[in-house]
Amino acid sequence: MAEVQLPEAPSQARVNEFALKLANVNGTGSASTNNLLMQTIFRMGVPVSGKNLFPSNIQGLPTWYEVRVSQSGHTARTSSFDLMVAMNGQTYQQDIQEVASGGYLVYDDSWPLDPEMRRPDITFLGAPLAQLCAQRFLTVKERILMKNVATAGLVAALLALPVDELSKQLVAAYSRRPQLLEDNQAALELGYQHARDNFPCPLPFHVEEVGAPDGRILIDGNTAVALGAVFAGATVGAWYPITPATSVMENFIRLCAQYRRHPGPDGQEGRDYLILQAEDELAALGIVVGASWAGARAFTSTSGPGLSLMQELLGLAYYTEVPAVLVDVQRAGPSTGMPTRVQQADLLSAAFASHGDTRHILLFPSDPRECFLHTVRAFDLADRFQTPVVLMSDLDIGMNDWEVPELTWDDSYRPDRGRLLGTEELERLEQFWRYGDPDPEWTTPRAVPGETPRAGHLVRGSGHDFRAIYTERPDEYQEVVDRLLRKHRAAAAHLPPPVVERREGAPFGVITMGSCDLPVREALEQLPGPEPSYLRITGYPFPPAVAEFIEAHPHCYVVEQNRDAQLRSLLLIETGAGGERLRPVLSYGGLPVTASFVRDRILEQESPQ
């Protein structure tokens, strides 16, 4: 599966169009270097993406950071790099392989490089950063940390990044710790000067400022989800820590502390939220279900293993028709799998979560901006359809910084609470039946505890009739579960619309979802011949446009990041399209899928040799 050199990137036109990778050891402070570089490029107005590939441990193992700079907006992950900053001896060998022919490799020549590792087609740039730092800094800890900053300086010189912009960022970060600031500045200068003095700066590929990144921000999906939950008015959060979902709730905690502390009348603290770190995922979802049942907008976030543990309670919420918002930040499975690697492999588990006939509403955001929008939408959908809604994010979206258009907010937005009846409405009713009187979208009136004696009822996960009363009668039982199925179908019209780009004379269609968006779009541009049509699924249940799209093309490729073609499976079940029409393109090694992978898999099938 060797990746082909990108055709759009001939070496002469490499300004603002290249990729670099930094290889490091985790727990040594390299994250700040990565941010420094990423942030600087972003501020120069050039589209950029950063992918953090980190191990599932805390300290001492290899970690990488991949930066793609692309004026043309191709910021999907790539697997071939123009510049490799190889600071981890353990992974040299592997890192050297990933440098594109004609590319550069920076290494620390405080120690000699094994000549066997050399490649004739790339340029090796040795810089004695460890030595330089050892001379300048006293403690071991300082030396390790400052070597990272020096590396940033060095890369800045190579890529023609404005060193004063980096310096400004250091000032912002360490303004309150002058000694640390001084050290950082010194290290930055040290790396920068060393490169300027010894290397051909800038390299042929480098960054040129385009202007301020107006209307764009750099944000990760988990922060965006948390923002969405704050703006949607969620007041109860329950969670159990798990990579890569942890920062959803940690951000929610932070944001609530910032926006939701409204001291009460007599000065006592008034936090307009309650976030419970539960003992496990069963309890986390149990709390959400209880809080939602009692009227709050409540949510939890988790990843695969948590989703498995939440099955029974998802089934309960489905059948009792209690809203629940669940954010699944997908990681590589099965089982514990690779907790710090990405996949989109929880679709079937989420769509049909729990035993018995169940189906849930799923949303597939493709970037952090959609994480924000779809989170707000998830609360509205959960309330309107009185059912669990699962936001299917993933590690790539959730934990990496993405450049997206600035988020906007309509201040006239008010939560859609669906048929949650107020006390007055309830008291006006002749008779309240929890599961009676369905509206055209098959939802029924809801009442929370504590409001009025007129709404007394007992919801239950056991067989019940329209009055919520236990039944074992087939007709009474079926009346309710038939309505649930219709209700689920009706929700399709309220989901974010799929992104459909039908092209005249398209030889085939390409269907994908979520974080595959960028690499698939890039791949489509690289394909020879008439451009294929494009469909990005944004939610489940599918609206009619999805079946129509499939119908309109002789065949479609379904690109997804799992082994078992789970999106394709859902499409087969729901649209009835035959297997011939839907061809799987599957990337599931745990690293974000690349354009060249998608392109090559399609090419192989379109023109078999």
Partner: protein, 351 residues
Amino acid sequence: MTSIAKPQIPLLPLERNELGLTIRDYSGSMSTLCAGCGHDSVTAAIQEALWGLSIPPYQVAKLSGIGCSSKTPQYFDSAAVGFNSVHGRMAAVASGAAAANRGLVVVGVSGDGDSLSIGLGNLAHAVRRNVRMLYVIANNGVYGLTKGQFSASADIGSRSRKGEPNLLPPVDPMLLGLSLGATFLARGFSGDKAQLVPILRAGLSHGGFALVDVMSPCVQFNDHEGSTKSFRYVREHELQDIDADIIPVRGQIHSEQTPGAVTEVELHDGSRVLFRAVPEGYDPRDRGRVGSYLVESARRGEIATGLLYLDETTPDMHQLGGTPEERLWDLPFERLCPGSAELAKFQARLR
């Protein structure tokens, strides 16, 4: 089927509480449990406790897990909204309900299987969170609904209907709660309403998690010789030496008084518990000694009943969370949503 309306037998004029309501205003559908099941007495006691405290029936949120015991929310307080959830998760679901609306009177009813087998972890952590609620375990030492397997509270040596002895040590929810920092631990017997109702009232008035273990014999599967949870066994071995009573600011005392030394304890809501400790000097607030007391009485094959442990100083979940006095679920949206201007400000940092 569980909704069969109760026959409206004409009765003597019923006593009214402060809200002008009679005990019938706290009733539910007719029970479909076995005739003579201890759980029906537990239901009746809960009903009486709610009535006695003049709690508006609709302010109650009643919850349960799965089991015969967990069916009982159907049988009391029809005016309340209730949630018969899944096996073992009631503690979590109730935590969520209490979080959303601190004005609710949260009443959870569970069984020993529901709470001490499958639900043990979730119960333990709800105890730690000190969720303000009354949590009743209708404890019969068996899984009633699945027809008589031993539960985690079956005593060593007690025999099932088929004659097999239980060999595993029982989980005593009182000792367990004590080890977890519970703030209210009490035990009663379904057959002794005079003691049980005051305990439940005290639990309803407690400002945190009130764990009440009620010995509630299963007539079907655990009310025969050899079983230590049978009516006969409990009546003979009950140690009624610690008794709880309550003088709520909202109501009157309805249980008989027992002579003896009295420790008066003021509860969170200002109501008072009169604590009668027959072993001289028994202090329900002495965690270490309460533990040895429980261990000792268990060793003697006796069941200590009454208000066994009380800690009225620990803050509850909402106090720990610093939430406002209002109910979270219907705070005005304007107070919750930072709005577009703040969103713009926030994003300034992301550029």
